[in-house]
Amino acid sequence: MANRRRNLFILSFVAALVVASVVVILSKPTVLGLDLEGGTELIYQGRPTPQNPEIQGDDMDRAIEIIRKRTDALGVAEPEISRIGEDSIRVGLPNVENAEQAIERVGQTAQLYLYDWEPNVIPNPALTNVSEGEASFPRYYDAVKLASQQEPECFEDECTTSGPSYYLFDEQTKEWIAGPAEDEADLLAQTDVADGKQPPNTEIITVPQGTLVVKKEGEGDQTAPEDPNAAQWFVIRDRPSLSGDEIKDPKQEYDPTTNEPNVTFDFTDSGREEFADVTQEIAQRGLQNAPPGVGGDVELASQYSGHFAIVLDDEIKSRPIINFVENPSGIDGRTGAQISGIGQLDDAQDLAEILQIGALPIDLTLISQSTVSATLGEEALDQGLKAGIVGLILVCLFLIAYYRFLGVVAVLGLGLYGVFLFALIKLIPITMTLPGIAGLILTIGVAADSNIIIFERIKEEVRAGRSLGSAVAAGYRKGIATIIDANVITLITAFILFALATAGVKGFAFVLGIGTIASLFTAVLFTQAFLGIFGRSRYVRSPALFGASEEQRVRWRFDFTRASRIFFSMSGVILLIGAISFATLQLNLGLDFESGSRVSVGLERDATVEEVRTALEGAGIEDAEITEASNDQLGPNVFEIDSQIEPDEVQRVQPALDEAFGIVPNGFNSTTVGPTFGEQVAESAIQAIIFSLLVICAYVAFRFEPKYAVPVIIALVHDILITGGVYSLTGREVTSGTVAAFLTILGYSMYDTIIVFDRVRENVPRLPRATFSQIVNRSMSEVLTRSLITGLSSVFLVTVLLIFGGTTLKDFAFAMMVGIASGTYSSIFIASPVLTHWKEREPAYRKRRERIQEQMGRVPAFPEENVIARLEGEPEPTAEERPAEPEPAEPARAATEPEPPERAPEPSPVPGVVPAPPGPVAPPPGPAERPQPVGAPSDREPRPGRPEGEPDGGDGQAEAERPELSEASAAALRRVREQQAGRRQRKRKKHGRPR
């Protein structure tokens, strides 16, 4: 009655949760990631500045705050700005209209410095016909070269750089390639070279601290404004008089005399004094330099007056004159100052906005950029949803077909699982990304497997003769430990992925984790309560309704341990091929690891690959690999362009192609990864794999025993190497999504191995005379059906992903397909045999093996064939022969239950003896069919009803009387019986003589 109340309470609670979930689903929006909604994702890495030589957490927070203000100013709705790791920031800009402007604005450092110009400028010695203050360099290389010849200095510790700056130029053409960078490694990271080596025919130039190369105001080729080779440059001493921290209230206004847009600002108190001092100095210097008679003539005086340069991020914004006639004592700064000559109104507004928001406390380098059009995002969402729905339907159909009534209950559980998970996704809210959808679909498999484990147990109990009600109770009681162990493994994997992996994979990990928890609730609590209430109905009393007819259709009887030689050899050969493939073909590492850019673009007009190449070369992109592609969403003229250009250069591609061929609306998609981000992705992947292995193995060692953890590691290594080998052989691209799939494979393989080991652990105390290989064989034959069914349901899901998923989902699915095959295989044919080999060396198991070998001349594959030992009246195993076994699931009862007494064997008649062929054969009788040992307590439960770990006489009487024996065993049995009969006859003759 108490159980019924409990079950009713759970069902009521579930009903209430369903109502609440439906309300959440209907009232809350689903947050879609950029890959589904369309938009631009930018990943920046923070670098120290002289003001912040070491990046602190506060600096990152301040930088995020400033970026948020900048994106708000851009009018971006709901920007996603988050910190990644210690020094990186991810900025998601959904449906941003002008990606180029956004990229430029968001990451701009906006460090403003004001310089007393004439004393600090180092003139171009080649220009003798202009004043020193105007002697700029037409070529960047020449400016940098002159700067490199200066002595290092840091005047009054006010340098704007923390050390020397490094530049890379082409040795022949003297064209700029990269820089400035704070060290050579950073400089080379900006290039496309492998292994951090300097590219051939290049020159690295080092500019010492204290000297800057700054861009002349209003300079730059209009077609390539970011190209340093197209601008003019000044070399200056890095002695700023004021910094951006000393200005306030910047505003865009109009110059009252010229009516041109400008930016005005005020000074802080300290800034005002500094400004007054420096302008006074400039004015006095101008007066000293002017010839006599200039005083009073403002126009003439301006020719001799000094300048005050306003420099923003190494670019001169303005160089106003401090006219000594107009301001003989300088400017006191109370009326502020202005930056004029900015150009267009938009430029002035942008500058004012940047100054208002303030400078970033750190330098930000764009290391990855990805732009997805809304059209492609919508298509990806459709594909993901379709894959999820079809996968769910297939799994439901399979469960119903195989488990019938239980399958219907499982489907109900899966339906509830879907409702709860969707509500959680909306409630938290979880940003749904494509990897997240993959995680969601895979959790369907996890949820289904929890049911499969329990249902297989229930079927065992039903076949053993239990009533359906008690079979359900026993099935859940026995299955729960296995399910918890297996799900904890999945949760650990998800947690480590979430903590260590990069942004896209985080979504996958989060959904996997939440889904696993939700599945535990629905697959265990709900289905148990449901079966507790409705499973007792008279309409569902037939075992056939549970898919558990009297005879099991398939029962495995296979000497897994002996066959392990064959499977080890197979694995060895596969790995040999893999090793050779790694060596010769290597891995096709994708953009995430190798860096570079990939653009997918739909053109309005027909174009050939060569025409596209020509257009790109016109924009300075010369190393592009261009292929025609097909994508219905992007129209008939779709091209994919792979190039080794930097994240901030990819924006040159869009205008070049738009001008040449026109781009269809929402037809430009790009992904760019800088070398730094590629390294981060690779590092985080390796860390995630190593941490997963260590934590999972620690868990296995804790839950089982340390010896169980080592085969698990070996099996996982086997899976990773085989999956990697398949990727190498097939040449498929390895992306960060593949890494997530790899990690899921680890979880999956572990999950499968745990199921097998759990049954081994359970059988060890039940079979106190069996060798370890026999225990493993028995355990494997018991769980193989479950492994295959789980594998099959996962294969359904993965196949659906392969068929309906887009590029990203297919990427996951392929890795998962290989991993599931390898994981199922390794848990059966690698992990268990390794455990067997290792455990068999323990003295107790060695003794058991020797005894059986001695008595039978061989060691049978299964413990029920150990007839002879019993016939010979062997005593129970001694304490020495009993190995230190892992704790059984219910150790207390196992320890207290008395072992049934030994008795003389009463083997089945010979006609019941059947050979044991390899492979699936007719089933041995279920536990309930086995005769009970003589002397067993009369009120004892039938064997299968006993709790786990309860001894049943080991491979004792019950095992001895099993009818299915191999021919050799049967022959041996006959010989022993004949000997015993002879001995009894001789005794009778001896004692039966007349007294």
Binding site: S571, G572, L576, A579, F582, A583, Q586, H837, R846
Partner: protein, 90 residues
């Protein structure tokens, strides 16, 4: 990449130790460690001797691991024999 090649090669060869009577010190797991360590050591030694970078691999890179693996296995086996480990053949 070269390290991955050597490790995979070592593990591949280890799989065939099931055909050898198990007198390895530490059993099949000891053999695993011996094979992996031997493969890495001989692979690295050969790669350094050839003055090749860790990222440069070819067929020879895979073969460099073979002698090390065999030596590693032999050492673990010899340790087992010395320690009096009895042959285990399942």
């Amino acid at each position: 990449m070269a390290a991955l090649v050597w490790f995979t090669m070592g593990i591949a060869i280890w799989h065939f130790t099931v055909f050898v009577p198990d007198r390895f010190r530490g059993g099949i797991v000891g053999a695993f460690l011996g094979a992996a360590a031997g493969a890495m050591v001989s692979g690295a030694a050969a790669q350094i001797a050839q003055d090749q970078g860790i990222g440069e691999t070819d067929l020879a890179t895979a073969l460099y691991a073979v002698p090390g693996t065999l030596v590693g296995l032999a050492i673990v086996y010899a340790m087992g024999v010395r320690a009096g480990v009895e042959a285990e053949q399942l």
